[in-house]
Amino acid sequence: MNHFRTHLGRTTLALASATLVAGVSLAASAESPHPAVETLLEMGYPAPQEGELVHIPPTMADLEASDLHPETKQVIRRGYDLFTNTQQLRGENVFNDMNCSSCHLGEGRQPFSAPVWAAAVTLPNYRGKNDHVNNLEERIAGCFAYSMNGVPPEYGSDDMLAMTAYHQWLAKGAPVYPDQPIYGRGFPAPDRPDELSYENGEALYVENCAVCHSEDGSGYYEKGEYVFPPPWGDGSNNWGAGIVRLFTAAGFIKNNMPLGQPMSLSDQEAWDIAYYMSSQERPQDPRYTGDVAETLERFGPTFHRHSLYGQEGPDGEVLADHANWGEKGDEVKPWNVGQPRFEELKAQ
């Protein structure tokens, strides 16, 4: 286990520097990098490649200092609040133990942790997952249906507006539909090793992850309040969430975990832990047809070929061969799943 140590002996008030560099987008060049990028380099992340779009989102302190209308600030704050404490929608839109910021670290701003501003400038766009053009609200609706094992807020609702406003605030200054690749987008996967080991993954999980996420993967709540999210089980994302894909899980782990020690695990270690984690059970995919093999066949090409859905699990059982919907039960169904768009256009 690497003990990752970094010492940045800065004495300046970071608040001042944040205001100065609020919402800065640059094409990567030979000039001296943004302080946040300097930090990333010191943490072991790759440097921006020539021509990559580097965007460091503004902070909530920048929001307060900005000239936006006070009501706009209020709505963006509401979006921030929902993003970082999505649990407040528990029982209404959220039916598990997660927050958006459980995986989108650093309030959704953090490069290499799927910063959410990117969705605001690359959508509307076609998405293979549902085979049609999605806008930002539909993208967010997917997060509720899958990652939160829940039901999305209605399109156009106050909460949806607040969340999209937060996404867009974070995108301040970034070009819309950028041509360049985006530095730090998503959870970039390390190269997949030749062999993946469940046993290794389990041992590594116990050694590195269980201290926060518990040995049984249930995460940790302190007196009923969220502290650490569950990587599997009924409290976790369901089988439809992007992170069930091995490469996404490996990318998340490698670039972000253990918390505060990114890039400290080897590629093999990250993939093995991802393999172990992805072999555990969780609530059913909302796209379930009633038969796991049929669901796998239908959604394999676009999605589940990257996951262990319908594959043999550690005890010889078939993973996701069940109708366990977790806390939402089988009465609550996400209305956005399977909803088609542009049927007339497609018929042409």
């Binding site: 944040a18 302080p35 116990v206 201290v211 249930s218 502290v227």
Partner: protein, 216 residues
Amino acid sequence: MTSKRIAGGLGLLLGVGLAAGQAMALEGDAERGQAAAGTCVACHQGDGSGMNVPGGESWPRLAGMDASYIAKQLHDFKEGRRQNASMMPFANMLNDQQIADVAVYYSEMPVTGAQGGDVDESLLDRGEQLALRGDWDRYIVSCKSCHGPRNEGAGSTFPGIASQHAGYIENQLRAWQADERSNDPQNLMGAIAKRMSDEDIRAVSAWLASQSVASE
């Protein structure tokens, strides 16, 4: 998802030696703990409130701290896994059962207030920022991410830091920075501490001290 799960896991996961494992298995008794805590009172006070000693060695509040956490620290002092010239002789006076007892004794005390939070507002604001939101541009994760929503602790692994003396928190963070303290699991705290500026340390310590914790 109860504190028991983390505490139970600790026995397996810490691997800090048989002594700690045995202590986890020993049941503590507060009444016996009170008797054994005679030598603790001079610094940690009768009500477990400790004392803030600006510029010196502060004595932490023990009142209301998690019992397993206290026990682990005492074992770590004894075994030299946590270095402190003041605490080592006192920890050596206690046998395993007494450690379990004083830990329970202090854990059952109502949480007391802390000193050292009386600093200017901009420093407090910075402290609040770090404690609740962090500073991710410097890869400083918020304190509450691990120490719980109000920094009152999470299980036995992550101690409560709200309503703790600023001087004590400062000293610990500096100790981690200087590699003088390293008994945290997996260097989780050390990694964060090493990214904090001196101003950050003073800010977050003052803010945490200014958080008055209502005890259950």
